[in-house]
């Protein structure tokens, strides 16, 4: 029993934190968000460092590490709220690597690993996905419909950029018309691939919660009213304690999900549902609470906390929100109890 990262994993986390503090600070974030365009050199740098291929098998040009290492990067990218197609590409990569055929892997994973030909993934209905992260720049799009998933090359899909409340990321509407080739099915275990994607997405939300919690605490220490730092008032300090409660709970669940993905697949379905539910709730509640602690300033465009709040809204809705996950947790638990009771 050792619920902590290895020294190498800690090192990945530290390096990522330092690099992103330099390359993706709040000013760079603001520039990207207000310009509604990525700083291309940031993603190039992440590609050159090999981040894009971290969890992809070596035979496809990746580093061959696990979901845990990917999760660490996603958490740090969420902490920095880096404006880049990294997450969408990583989620698409997980879908193809874990549910695709050898041929599909060989075709798409090298581009995903190098970041030269990126991927993305979304839930679709009737061949259409309304808000797909980074679809316009992607080479390949995975559309999940019900229990099955389809892989569509960018050229086969109609992709129309859409603006959302989150200007820190590019989104698009994707549709595949029936007359077009319609893409090809991912023939493998879609559910377990999706579970991995959920863990990575959860990690981004943990990073977002962590950062906005820190922003609130920093502000509560500095801002004075009644000649007192507002953090000395329990109405504020207890709110901050609640942020820690929510963030750490989501972190426990997400890290366990990462471990299950790499080490014990039998626990992955439940673990990923729990991680996603907890991370959605934490990201939504902590970012909202952080705005409240910042008071009037927190509601202004000038403060940076709203970028995080907005990304949290999109992330939480991506690949199914918390209520879907809670229903899944109940169904999975009831089923396993029924099996145990019958045996």
């Amino acid at each position: 029993m050792n619920f902590d990262f290895t020294e190498d994993q800690h090192e990945i986390k530290r390096t990522a934190r330092e690099l992103l503090a330099k390359r993706s600070g709040l000013e760079q974030l603001r520039e990207a968000a207000e310009g509604e365009a990525y700083d291309e050199s940031l993603f190039s740098e992440l590609r050159e460092l090999g981040w894009t291929g971290i969890a992809i098998d070596e035979q496809y040009g990746g580093a061959g590490l696990g979901v845990v290492e990917l999760m660490i990067l996603c958490e740090e990218l969420g902490y920095a709220l880096a404006a880049s197609p990294f997450l969408a590409n990583a989620l698409g990569g997980l879908m193809i690597e874990h549910a695709g055929s050898d041929e599909q892997c060989a075709k798409w994973l090298p581009g995903i690993a190098s970041g030269e030909a990126t991927a993305t993934v979304a839930f679709a209905s009737g061949g259409t996905a309304e808000v797909v992260p980074d679809a316009d720049g992607a080479a390949v799009i995975v559309l999940i419909e019900g229990d099955s998933a389809t892989l569509v090359a960018r050229g086969e899909a109609e992709v129309e950029p859409v603006s959302t409340i989150d200007p820190t990321r590019r989104y698009a509407r994707v549709s595949v018309s029936a007359s077009a080739s319609g893409g090809e099915a991912l023939s493998g275990d879609v559910a377990s691939a999706l579970a991995r994607a959920e863990v990575a997405l959860s990690a981004e939300m943990v990073g977002i919660a962590q950062r906005t919690q820190e922003m609130a605490i920093e502000y509560a220490k500095e801002r004075k009213q009644f000649d007192t730092p507002i953090g000395a008032f329990q109405a504020i300090s207890h709110r901050c304690a609640q942020m820690l409660f929510d963030t750490e709970g989501a972190r426990s669940a997400t890290y366990f999900g990462g471990w299950a993905a790499d080490a014990d697949e039998s626990q992955l379905a439940l673990a990923s549902a729990i991680a996603k539910a907890a991370a959605c709730e934490a990201a939504l509640s902590v970012t909202a609470s952080s705005i409240q602690v910042h008071g009037g300033i927190g509601f202004t465009w000038e403060a940076n906390v709203h970028w995080f709040f907005k990304r949290a809204q999109l992330d939480a809705a991506m690949l199914g929100g918390a209520s879907k996950q809670r229903a899944r947790v109940t169904a999975l638990t009831a089923a396993s109890l029924a099996v145990a009771g019958a045996s």
Partner: protein
Amino acid sequence: MDLTFNESESAFRNELRAWIQANHPGDEPAGEDDGYAFRRDWQRQLYEAGWAAVHWPTEYGGRDATLVEAAIFNEELARARAPFPANVLGLLLAGPTLMTWGDDQQKQRYLDPIMSGEEIWCQGFSEPEAGSDFASLKSKAVRDGDDWLVTGQKVWTSGAQYSKWCMFVARTDFDAPKHKGLTYFILDMEQEGVEVRPLRQITGDAEFNELFLENARIPAANVLGGEGNGWTVALTTLMNERAGLAFGLQVAMKVALDELTEELAASGKLDDPMIADELGSLHIKCEILRLTAYRGLTATMKYGQPGPEGSLTKWMWSQGNQELMQFATQALGVQSLAGGSSWGRAMLRSRGNSIEGGTTEVLKNIIAERVLGLPRKK
């Protein structure tokens, strides 16, 4: 990260599980006194088989269990629905405090009877005017030759009616600042000057008592950790209060939650999406408690103290358990509140969870100041 148990931990679990299966005492009888006697016998059984105080060092009769093994012990007991040993405060609080602060004679005298359950211990900290602000306590001890004479009142003293000894903190220096004038005593409960009055709680049971002291006598040899050092010694006791138990409480919550899930499934109520949603939320909270407790345990093993997550488990448990019990009685319907159903009583009992062992509000203050580094409260 390795969230599996190693060979020796698994062996420990298997040995314990087999032993509990072979020696399970059955259901606890109704009635306060009968229940207590039952748990005392159970402790004797544990003691004779060497299971009573696994977390104690071998030199004091324990097994020198690792933190993980101690967690496993609490998990297995809860999973088997076996009772906790009667002398739980002695095992978890008094024992470790004696090991840290006691002299050789005190350790020699008190530790073994704690383990066997022969001598039960209670905790005399809280007073009517000193709850969360425990350092402001007013019970006073004055010298009388070689003895101390204590007068005052304590409250929330669990198990006082069965106790031989009390971890008793009194003020010995009224001129010193409030944290400095305290002394930690080992008080003999079997004497004239000690009166125990049961305190009926909202369940109708009386787990707690009020304690009235009128010139109760304590020999000077029964000071623990030195005169005027009571605050520091008491902190050792309070630190132990929050450690270890989380695992047993988590499993007890999981057992109740699984039972509820089965009852709701059997009655078709799980098809109600609102019920399924709330039940899912509770399973999530319960699992997060388990994982967070293990994270805290890893941090303690690696760095000597838990990280920020360590302060959260008591809060997670009390809130989760209260929500579980409230949800259970509402979801199962009004018959769960009628006599004979254990849910109604469990729901009532759960209201104490966020008060006992440190209120949630005080925990939030501690987290805000010590973990988040916010300025001291106004």
